[in-house]
């Protein structure tokens, strides 16, 4: 078990290193001198400043040395400086990270639990109108652009019904404390989390349903039935457990998409997370910040993948830890 984790972590570090190297070359893909790109877009492109930057970032050094400096910098969590915001990139990201974690993890929990629930229901009543309705809805949500769901939710729940706040993390100036604060953040969280959640819920519903129906045809289910077990018990103890395996795999694969969803939803709902930060960086063409967010997102995905890998092994005892 421990060696397995160590192996996985080592592999993750290698991938992260590769992503950092990729990042290093990405900024050099930008047309023009990186120093001018960094300075010019920061609105201070006089020659002295550019030379300073060139020296500071070692851009006058040979490429391998630049790469080494860059990797070393990131290893000590130095992601560069955002000239637009006049702050270190790492500080900006750390400030915004908790909000994104809250949003994505809530969305993930909602989508997974409801997705499995609906999927099980649809499979159990396959062919009935309930199944048809769930399958059709899942298809529609699977095809709907996230940013559009977000806008439609604002139109319905904020503008028309006036039930929920349409932007931000908490009510500005309200200064709630204790339970009132939690409730306030919760009210702001509902729509963004549900927006991301709907898309993923659709995927998990489809996957669970298909998987349940597939497992239901296997021999060991027949055996269980022949033993005279009640159907509910078979579904819960035998079918669902096996049917969840591909769903867990899918959840792991999806972590990257979850981050993408956060960029779009945070943009629409002005949720102060790193997705919104990425959008701001984009608007201001703040490449340092943009790439910093990108590295952090990739690291988050790696961690999430590691976690799902572990869960997968816990759910499926057949897989040995040594691999």
């Amino acid at each position: 078990m421990l060696s397995f984790i160590a192996q996985r972590v080592a592999k993750g570090v290698v991938v992260l290193l590769a992503i950092i190297v990729l990042n290093f070359f990405l900024i050099r893909l930008a047309p023009g001198d990186p120093a001018i790109v960094m300075a010019g877009e920061a609105g201070a492109s006089d020659q002295v400043f550019v030379n300073q930057l060139r020296e500071k970032f070692g851009l006058d050094k040979p490429l391998p040395e630049q790469l080494f400096r860059y990797v070393r910098g990131i290893a000590s969590f130095d992601l560069g400086f955002s000239f637009r915001q006049q702050m270190p990139v790492s500080k900006l990201i750390l400030e915004r990270l908790p909000a994104t974690l809250l949003l994505t993890l809530t969305a993930f929990a909602i989508s997974l639990s409801f997705g499995i629930l609906f999927g099980v229901f649809a499979a159990r009543f396959a062919g009935t109108w309930g199944d048809t309705a769930i399958t059709a809805l899942a298809l529609v949500f699977y095809a709907t652009p996230l940013f559009w769901i977000a806008l439609m939710a604002i139109l319905l729940f904020s503008v028309t019904l006036d039930w929920l706040p349409s932007f931000g993390y908490e009510t500005v100036g309200a200064n709630y404390t204790g339970i009132a604060h939690v409730l306030d953040v919760g009210a702001h969280l509902v729509m963004p989390a549900a927006t991301i959640g709907l898309f993923f819920m659709a995927t998990y519903t489809r996957m669970t349903r298909a998987s349940m129906l597939e497992v239901n045809r296997l021999d060991f289910v027949k055996t269980a039935r022949a033993k005279g077990l009640r159907n509910n018990l078979i579904q819960r103890r035998h079918v669902l457990r096996n049917a969840l395996l591909p769903v867990v795999t899918l959840a792991g694969v999806h972590s990257g998409t979850l981050i993408g969803g956060a960029v779009l939803t945070e943009t629409v709902f002005a949720w102060p997370g790193i997705g919104r930060l990425m959008y701001e960086a984009l608007l201001q063409r703040d490449y340092n910040l943009l790439l910093g967010v990108f590295v952090v997102c990739s690291a988050m995905v790696l961690i999430f993948n590691l976690a799902t890998d572990l869960v997968y092994r816990l759910v499926d005892p057949r897989i040995e830890f040594s691999t």
Binding site: P145, L282, F294, C297, L302, N305
Partner: protein, 279 residues
Amino acid sequence: MKHFFKLMLRNPGGLIGLVILTIAILVALFGPLVFPTSPWRMVQRPFLPPFTLSTVPLGTDALGRDVFAGIIYGARVSLLVGLVSTLVALAVGVPLGAIAGYFGGRIDDALMRFTEFFQTIPSFALAIVLVAILQPSIYSIVGSIAIVSWPPVARLVRGEVLSLRTREYVQAAIVTGQTHRWIIWREILPNALSPVIVLASLMVATAILLESSLSFLGLGDPNLISWGYMVGAGRTVVRQAWWITVFPGFAILLSVLGLNLVGEGLNDALNPRLAGNGR
């Protein structure tokens, strides 16, 4: 072929998808000819609500531009980007997967690590970074979408080739001394085609969603109107003018839904063993 269409039509979802897709393609091909008003031209007062004037059925946006014209012209961009980026992704993924699966061993290991690496990177974030750095244009958009979407193709093709390689007719081809290239292209790949077609149809749908998300964030080609751009432009005024965002978003939803339905129909028709699965 006739049999194939029969199977495809037997699936009601596939049929609906085919109808939606045909309409979208017709609009993309002939819409601009029938409806020559440029979507960038100011035709009426700004914020004209829909269904008030028959000449501008879906109203106008914040600059008095025709929303209906935008949807017609946007169809071209969406479908074209979806199709071309999928073709590029296939052009990268199919050979890589085929080589990995056919030669196996170290080559397979190396190529699959490479593929996994690209699969680990958050795809939408990478696409954003790529388009932002390369400057938004139809080429950078197509390129970035292709870069983030080829890995599943490579993995699928590798799996298919891996199992087809051991078949007797392939062994026979090897014995008769055919070149590797000939065996891969003429013997193996044609038999791996149907799952690739299914995946490709779903990829076009994903590509359309990606393109619209990029344009929504302001990373669209500034010279081309697209559905995502329209939703993004209407976002700030959604409280006053719902129609600017509602209609283009609905267009995206419909075309993606159509493609997904066609993909599922194709899956049922091309993999008869699985047909009836989950229904």
